[in-house]
């Protein structure tokens, strides 16, 4: 029976219909990390989609910009219970990057600088649901928040929006990435509170 510390936790609010279950609105933007922050310049950054046949589709920074960067306003929800609403982002839609990719696989393993991985169904990356994001809150993405570019998949818990994104590999089955191997849900839908296995 733990000791109850009355008066603790009263900063956490509830009752906002735009917040998924168990989430609290925050004003700041917490930084969570599992390793050292990579230091990659845009001049050396590349992003590659690799299919099950080994075919590679690659972009360097300029090529990514040329695909077309768009404005996004979206809510983000972290599995550690904080949410930010109406956040401004800029990024390239994954729909555009997958246009010429031929694959019969339904799942993707996303990989980042530093070795972080996360898995997703391809379906969650398409239909206007995901971007390679390069700016947040009006400025270029800082390294601590995943710069120069991160994946942005706001309809899933934010650990799926892999920082320092460098590539995606098509896979036939839903294999777990880093946090998914360590207790976190394979899909991570905040509206169904899919936090853990």
């Amino acid at each position: 029976m733990p000791v109850i510390n009355s008066g603790f936790g009263s900063r956490r609010g509830a009752g906002n219909p735009r917040l998924p279950p168990g989430q609290t609105l925050v004003d700041d933007w917490p930084v969570l990390t599992a390793g050292l922050t990579p230091d990659i310049g845009t001049h050396e950054w590349t992003f590659t989609i690799t299919t099950e046949t080994g075919a590679e589709h690659g972009w360097d920074w300029n090529a990514l910009q040329n695909v077309g960067v768009e404005d996004i306003i979206t809510d983000i929800h972290c599995v550690t219970h904080w949410s930010k609403l109406d956040m401004a982002w800029r990024g390239v839609p994954l729909d555009r990057l997958f246009e010429d990719v031929e694959t019969s696989c339904d799942y993707v393993m996303v990989r980042s600088d530093g070795g972080y991985t996360t898995n997703l169904p391809l379906a969650d990356l398409l239909e206007g649901q995901a971007w390679i994001a390069t700016e947040a809150e009006g400025v270029a993405l800082t390294p601590e928040h995943g710069g120069p570019a991160r994946l942005l998949v706001p309809h899933l818990y934010f650990w799926k929006s892999a920082k320092w994104v460098r590539g995606m590999r098509m896979m036939p089955s839903d294999e777990p990435g880093f946090w998914e191997q360590n207790g976190y849900h394979l899909r991570g839908d905040p509206w169904r509170e899919e936090r853990y296995w």
């Binding site: 733990p2 000791v3 109850i4 008066g7 603790f8 936790g9 700041d28």
Partner: protein
Amino acid sequence: MTSPVRASWHVGRVASRRRETTSAVRLELDVPTWPGNPAGAHLDVRLTAPDGYQATRSYSVASSGPTTRVTLAVDELPSGEVSPYLVHQLADGDELEVHGPLGHYFVWTPTEPDRSPVQLIAGGSGVVPLFAMAVAREREADHADFRLLYSVRTPEDVFFAEELSALSKTVVDVVHTRRSPTGSPRPPGRLTPESFAEFVFPATSTPRIFVCGPTPFVETIAHWLLKLGHDPNRIRTERFGGSG
């Protein structure tokens, strides 16, 4: 305290609290089941909200030995979850869950056979475990020579100021980085590799070294120690930081 004791959960009660620095409080807890702790150990404090939400944070113990009176010094991190509660809301008589004693790496015990000099280097609130070591040394009639180098921003940021000035077995050097006390012969300023070398035992005396503070401070100091020729195996570090 001669042998490591298994950590377990205890319930403590606040026996006293007082302001320690502009941003920190000193808490004395009565923990009836506390088995005692070596100097330098820490404990985890776990808070539980009425709705069941929990948060846990680590704090170094400023006291040591076979006592059930556990002293903590908690620095408030403004965006923290636990430290603002401990600094502003925890009152005399309140109960607190603690887990410990923890940590047998970053400790000094008087039964330590090695009588080489001991160099303590503290950045800000990193002084807490090192203060515990200096106080433990104070209780021994005869043991290693102790020095404490303590880097703080201003005189109001010094933890345990009175106790530090009363130590007779540890030479204490306080370096103010932003503002010195009025009348101080030393102008404020950050430590440099040169000024640092004046305050620490030379490598030739093969001191055991304990460094504690924010990660950037610890890494800079460790780097300087290696450049001065100190043996990395005789340097122990504890980094403070995290979310508060």
